[in-house]
Structure formats: C-alpha cells, structure tokens
C-alpha cells in the first residue's frame, strides 16, 4: 500500500488557539482511517487543511506524493478530495439534485441549467452506490440522515476518491449509522476509495476503521492498527492526562437531596432526542460526576437543569422547589450557580471588562447600588479587585476586556463569579477544558472546598481523570441514557470505559 496523503509538521494557529501542533501523519491508499479525539482536539481543523478550507500556518501537505501549494476547496476537489462536514454544506432551498451538481452544473445549449439532466445524473449515482434519495426533493424537507446521503453523493459526483467524513454519525439513528457503514465498506471495497472518518464514538472506530489516530489538545498522540487496540486503550489515549496531583481531602457525609431529576427528556438543537429518560439525585456535600463521551446528552442534560434548554418531559427540582422549564434567573434564585460548558458563548460578555463580568448576577445587591439605581463603580471595582486577587486571575487588571484574555484566565473569571454566590447547588461543566495544569489544580481544589462546605455539585467533564478525582459518585451516560451508577472508589477507569461506550449496561456486568 502507498501513502495517499502525508501531513508533515503541520501547525495551524487561530488567534489565541494552537489548533494543530506539529502534526505528521500518513494515510494509506484504500483504507478507512479513523481520527478520534475530544471536541477541540483539532481533528476538524486538520481535515479542513486537507480540504483546503484552512491554510496551515506551518508545515507541508502531500497528496499522492505531490506537494500542495494552493489551499482552496476547488483545488482539493480537483485533487479528488471530498468532505462531508459536521454542519452540512447544503443550500436548504435547493433540491437534492441541485445541491449535488452545485459548482459543476450540467447545461443545455451551453447556458441554461439542465435540471432534468441533474436529476438523471443524481439518479445514476443513487443506483450505483445504493444511496436511496429523491433527487427532486428540497433539502429543507428531508431528514438529516438523507441530507447526509446527499453530502456523500455530492462528493462522489465531483469524482472524489478520498472521502472525509466529519462526525458523520452524530446526527444519525442507529439504523442510519449501520446503513452508512455499509455504504463506506462498499465504496472502499468496490471503488477503492480512501475514507477518513472523524469521530469520538469509539465503538464505531472499532466497527469501521483499519487504522486509528488519536488527537488531544492539537497534538497527534498516536496512530494504531485498529485490530491492535480496544476501546479502553483509545479512551485513555483520548482523555488521559499526566496525573501529577496530590490527594484531595474529602470530608463529611452527604446530606439532603439538592438536585432531583426525574425521567427527563430533552431535545438537541436539531430537535432530536438527546436526553432520554434520565433520573438522578445529587445530595448536599457530594460531587456527582457524569462520565460520558462527548455528544451523549450530557450537555443537554445540564442545560435543561439550569434552564437554558426546554424540557420535553419529566421534572427537575432544585433545593426542593420545582425548576422544570423555569428561566435561568428563577433557577438561580432557588440556589443554583452554573459554570457553563462553553464559556465564550454562555459564560462571559467578552466585550465587557473583567470587573463587569465578575459583577453579573450581583448587580442588584444593595452595596453596589446607591438609591437603588446608581451603580457604585468604586464598590464594584473594589469587589472585583478582591475576587481578582482571591482567584489569582492573571491579566492586565480588572479593566481588561475579557475577550482578550487566555482561556484559563477567562475560566477563572467565570469560576470566581459563580463560586462566590455560595449557593447550595453548583452545576459545573468542563471546568478545565483548555486550561493549563497549574490552573487545573487550582480549580480542583476550589471544587472540593465547595463540596466540603456542603454544596451539592453536579460535574460533567470530558476528562475521565478529572471525573474520578473529584466525584463521590459517578454516572455514565450513553446515547442520552444512564448506563450505570457507581461509587467512585468502587470502580476502575477501565471498567467505566465499557459503560461510557455503551458496550456494557448496569445489570449486565
């Protein structure tokens, strides 16, 4: 087998983020290569370079031995590369056929778009590859599963023999996933195509790929033959971090129930069910950790509890009061603080100063208001200075625009604000994503402090070590359902991997 694609020392930096860090990787002709890693690990960025959307900041790319000099989708298409993006690249008001031929339309009389021919070509592709879809249906009227077929057909129409699939199963039902894999196997077998599949579902890696590469924080951690690894090994490669922590002192017994979730159903942004019948309880003075591979409903679950997402069925109670479909403000008043998963879009006002961001939620307190409306800037700034010091925020002071700070310091602003509310309930999501080791230790100490003071903490993290280190109890979520509940010291990381990847359910063990 020859090397179809070769990355040599590729780096890609976006303002403030090193998305790809010195990556060298070869992909062979006619193989199914899986690229796995958590969100933000740099998988999509790397593939966008291959597809010409990103021009690498440094390094070289070779396709079939030829060095790539112009990075544009057009050049990539000409090289026979096709990509199915995570967010579909389809024009909603166009028909299936029109989307497939976009950019290379068949014409009659040399001028006019030949819709009949476009549909005929589509039908031929449909028959050749067995991807059933109606060529004359409008994209906005068909399901996401069918939309994905259109995406694949589009790359085939353009004559691709290298196919990149970015998180192809994230939006599919299990049956649709099986069908997709069948298609991938067929095109590799019959058409000798090379397929690169980006995913974080490890069972799928095992099911479909010949080789697998693992990425973490912009770096390529390792490349293995799939038959030589298992899900457990991959999971530890994906989320593992050097463990150099001291023991955390946990004290006290759990008290009364502070969060009670009963038979919860929540949909994701596309209206598909993300949380399917989850029930859980978090008591005061304990940390309940959610262990799950990204995209298994944990984000939607926490958003539903904190009022940011609509609950379709079931109930949530916070400190004994019904919080189902209440506004985030009302739920906060019941005694809940929230460190959100995506700090840039949800956790801060990046145009505002550090001081203004630290104040949020307390702006109505008496000490910050003169006569009930005039904002006492000096008090606000004193308060901000105090938190700035206490939480060891490092930057150019409390007047800095938050958007210009590093991820770790931005997170410190969020944590400083939320932890200072001293509420009985804390919901924490991805506390240390994109944060350096030093700051991570700092956050962990704070979280355990809160627990020891008697707060009920619901924690979700993509970092399994983190979940283990902080939690008293752990639940595993797989495809929106709880697959197991464990006392943190009664289970090993290896075992929990089975539950996270859906290969084992409680009661089956």
């Amino acid at each position: 087998m020859t090397d179809e694609i070769r990355f040599e020392h590729i780096s890609m930096e976006f303002p403030g983020v090193l998305a790809n860090d010195d990556i060298s990787l070869s992909i062979r002709d006619g193989e199914v290569f899986a690229l796995v890693g958590e969100n933000g690990a740099g998988k999509s960025t790397l593939m966008n370079i291959l597809y010409g959307i990103n021009t690498p900041t440094a390094g070289e790319l070779y396709v079939r031995g030829e060095k790539v000099t112009t990075f544009s989708p057009k050049a990539a298409i000409d090289r026979g590369i096709g990509m199915v993006h995570q967010h579909f690249m389809l024009v909603p008001s166009f028909t299936v056929a029109q989307n497939i031929v976009l950019g290379r339309e068949p014409k009659n009389a040399g001028v006019l778009f030949d819709n009949r021919k476009a549909e005929k070509l589509t039908r031929e592709l449909v028959e050749e590859y067995g991807l059933e879809v109606d060529p004359s249906a409008e994209i906005r009227d068909i399901s996401v599963g069918l939309q994905q077929r259109v995406e694949i057909l589009k790359t085939l129409y353009r004559g691709a023999d290298i196919l990149i699939l970015d998180e192809p199963t994230a939006v599919l039902t299990p049956q649709e996933t099986d069908e997709l894999f069948e298609v991938i196997r067929r095109i590799v077998r019959e058409k000798q195509m090379t397929v690169i599949i980006i995913t974080h579902k490890l069972n799928e890696v095992m099911a479909i790929s010949d080789r697998v590469g693992v990425m973490r924080q912009g770096k390529l951690i390792g490349v293995e033959e799939t038959k030589n690894v298992n899900e457990k090994i991959l999971a530890s490669m994906m989320v593992g971090r050097p463990v150099l922590f001291d023991h955390l002192e946990k004290a006290g017994e759990p008290g009364e129930v502070a969060i009670k979730v009963d038979d919860l159903y929540v949909a994701d942004n596309r209206g598909l069910p993300a949380v399917r019948g989850v029930s859980l309880e978090v008591k005061k003075g304990e940390v309940l950790g959610i262990a799950a591979i990204e995209g298994n409903g944990q984000s939607e679950l926490l958003e539903a509890i904190t009022g940011l997402r609509k609950i379709n069925r079931g109930t949530v109670a916070v400190c004994g009061r019904d919080a189902t479909n209440h506004t985030p403000g009302e739920i906060r008043d019941m005694g809940l603080s929230h460190v959100p998963e995506d700090r840039l879009s949800t956790g801060v006002d990046k145009l505002a100063s550090v001081a203004d961001n630290l104040l949020v939620g307390r702006q109505k307190e008496k000490r910050f208001n003169l006569l009930g409306f005039h904002q006492r800037r000096s008090t606000v700034e004193r308060y901000a200075e105090e938190l700035y010091r206490k939480f060891d925020i490092r930057g150019a002071g409390i007047h800095t625009e938050v958007g210009s700070m590093s991820g770790g310091n931005m997170q410190k602003v969020v944590v400083a604000r939320e932890f200072t509310f001293d509420t009985p309930v804390l919901v924490i999501s991805q506390p240390t994503r994109g944060v350096d080791i030093g700051a991570m230790e700092f956050f962990h100490t704070r979280i355990i402090e809160k627990r020891n003071e008697g707060a009920a903490i619901l924690l979700s993290s993509a970092d399994l070590d983190e979940v283990f280190r902080l939690s008293d109890r752990i639940i595993t979520l797989y495809e929106g359902k709880i697959t197991g509940e464990f006392s943190a010291n009664a289970i090993t990381k290896e075992e929990i991997g089975f539950y996270m990847t859906g290969s084992r359910k409680e009661g089956e063990a």
């Binding site: 597809y51 959307i53 544009s72 989708p73 057009k74 298409i77 990509m83 993006h85 690249m89 389809l90 024009v91 909603p92 008001s93 166009f94 029109q98 989307n99 976009l102 950019g103 290379r104 339309e105 014409k107 001028v111 006019l112 778009f113 819709n115 906005r140 009227d141 399901s143 996401v144 039902t173 299990p174 049956q175 949909a267 596309r270 209206g271 598909l272 069910p273």
Partner: protein, 317 residues
C-alpha cells in the same frame, strides 16, 4: 354614493393602465433588489440608486440630446454604483444598513446640488430633456378595455415584462443564478463547491445597480416624459424593497407585488372621493409585514414537523 359607480371606477381600464404605469419603475428596481436579496445583502440603498440613475439619465439625455444615451449612461452609472455598494458591503464588510442609508441621503444631496447647478435653482429640468417613446401595440390597442390597459405606455413598461422573464431564467435556470442564491443562503456551501461567494455578491450588487439605473432612467425619461425633479424617486426604492421581501425575491412574484402596489396607488387616486388614498396606501405595507410574519412562522412550523418525523423514526425501530 352609488355602489355600482364605485366598482365601475375601481375596475375601469384607467385604473389598470395607471397600475401598470405606477408598477413599472418599482418593478425594475425590485428586479435589481432581488439580486442583492438572493446574495444575502440587505439593500435599502435602492432609493438612492434610482434617484441618481434618474439624474444621470436626464443629464446625459439633455447633453447628448438623445434618450437612448440617457439610458445607456444610467446603466453605466448603475454599474459604478453597484461596484461602490459592493466595495463597502462585501469587501470592507461595513454594515449594509448604514451604507444603504448613507447612499440614499448622498443621492438626495448630490442630485439636488448638481441639478441646481445645471438646471438652475428650481432644481427641476422642466421638460427639456428628450424622452423615451410611448409604444402602441398594433391590434391589441383595438380591443376595448384590454387595449386601453395594455397599449400606449412608455417603452420601459414592455421592456420590464421581458426583463422579468429574463431575470426569472437567470435566477432559477442558470448556474450563475444558482451560485448567487447559494452565496446568500449558505455561502460556505458555495465555497466548498469551489466557487467564491464574495464574487457572486459583487455580481449581484452590480446587477442591482444596473436595474436601479434603468428604473431611474425610466422614471425621468419615460414616466415623467423627460424631466428631472428633486427627490423624484419618492421612496420607490423602499417600495421595491418591500416587493422583494413580499415576493421572497422571485422575479414574477416581485412584479406581481409591484402591480399590487401600483393597484393600490391607482385605486387611491381613483377613489379619492370615497376613501382617502392615504388609507389605501398603507395596505400593501401592512400586507408585507403580515407576509414576513407568515414566512417566519411557517419556517418554524416546518422545522418542528421535521423534528417530529425524526423523533418518530427513532422511537419506533
């Protein structure tokens, strides 16, 4: 008041002829506006483009003593103003609304200033300028009612019909039309298809300038029989914008929308004795708002329906 009389006035040939006349400048501009709309640019600067087009056409016609030269000059100017608009909205990524707003005011100022300098302080050219011919359609003009409605209009009334068909073909039946629509609806899709969405936006903007130039030329050389009057676009750019929104940027529908505006305009004039033309004038705008709400609500319904279908598929394996 006699009911029979009212209906006779409403549905008289004069009403419909007036409707055609009123609709034409609006429809021409709307044909341009739907290009930028398809390309995803909110263009409220059409009023200024029309006004400047009207002025350029009048001046060129005045100095060359030829209405055809006037039209040609307006088209050339339309290309320039389209380039100018795209420079800001596409290249420099300025706020489309700010640029459109400024363009309208700029047009008001520059045409008034120059027309006073050229035609004297009154700010109108009078009827000094060679104008575009009226067209009598043989045979049809003999048919009662129909002839009265359709025949005898300024030449652009008929050119507009042809342009509506051509634009429909262009937008929905040529590759470039597809690319322009994709550049507005989903620019990244177009980019991944190997076409440059920015280039499509430039093309759309230039086309918009050309059509607004034509609308202006028709206004000064056809509609007003060869005269320029300050502020003569009289918010037609905004009406054209409303037509574009109303018609979801479909050329024939935009023409129908322009006819609707023209009809209510004509109706207002005809029914002055019965009901205020100002009240009938509000109707098309209110309908446009209702249409916008309808489009948004039906879009939400469509998404909900799809999600429900998807759900059903998952729950019943």
């Amino acid at each position: 008041m006699n009911n029979h009389n009212v209906w006779a006035t409403v549905f008289s040939a004069g009403t419909f002829a007036q409707m055609l006349r009123s609709a034409t400048p609006v429809a021409l501009a709307a044909l341009g506006g739907l290009m930028t709309e398809h390309a995803g640019i909110m263009n409220i600067g059409m009023d200024g483009m029309i006004l400047m087009g009207a002025f350029v056409a009048a001046v060129a016609s005045y100095f060359c003593a030829s209405a055809a030269m006037g039209v040609l000059a307006a088209v050339a100017f339309g290309i320039l103003i389209g380039l100018f608009f795209a420079l800001f909205t596409v290249k420099l990524k300025s706020d489309e609304f700010i640029i459109g707003c400024a363009l309208n005011t700029f047009a008001l100022g520059v045409t008034a200033y120059l027309s006073r300098e050229i035609f004297g302080l009154s700010g109108t050219s009078g009827y000094l300028v060679p104008c575009l011919p009226d067209v009598t359609i043989p045979l049809i003009n003999k048919i009662p009612f129909v002839g009265e409605v359709l025949s005898g209009h300024s030449v652009f009334v008929y050119i507009t019909w042809i342009l509506v068909v051509l634009m429909w073909l262009f937008v929905y039946r040529t590759p470039v039309g597809f690319w322009i629509r994709a550049s507005g609806e989903s620019p990244e899709t177009l980019r991944t298809a190997g076409k440059n969405p920015e280039r499509m936006k430039w093309i759309a903007s230039i086309l918009c300038g050309v059509f607004c130039g034509l609308a202006g030329a028709h206004l000064s050389l056809g509609y007003l029989n060869g005269s320029f009057v300050e502020g003569m676009s009289a918010s037609r750019g905004y009406i054209a914008f409303a037509c574009v929104i109303f018609a979801a940027a479909n050329p024939p529908k935009a023409y129908l929308a322009a006819l609707m505006f023209g009809f209510f305009d004509a109706l207002g004039l005809r029914l002055q004795d019965y009901i205020s033309s100002d009240l009938t004038g509000t109707i098309p705008y209110l309908i446009t708002i209702v249409m916008m709400v309808y489009v948004v609500v039906s879009g939400q319904k469509r998404r909900e329906r799809l999600a429900r279908q998807q759900l059903k598929k998952i729950e019943t394996p």
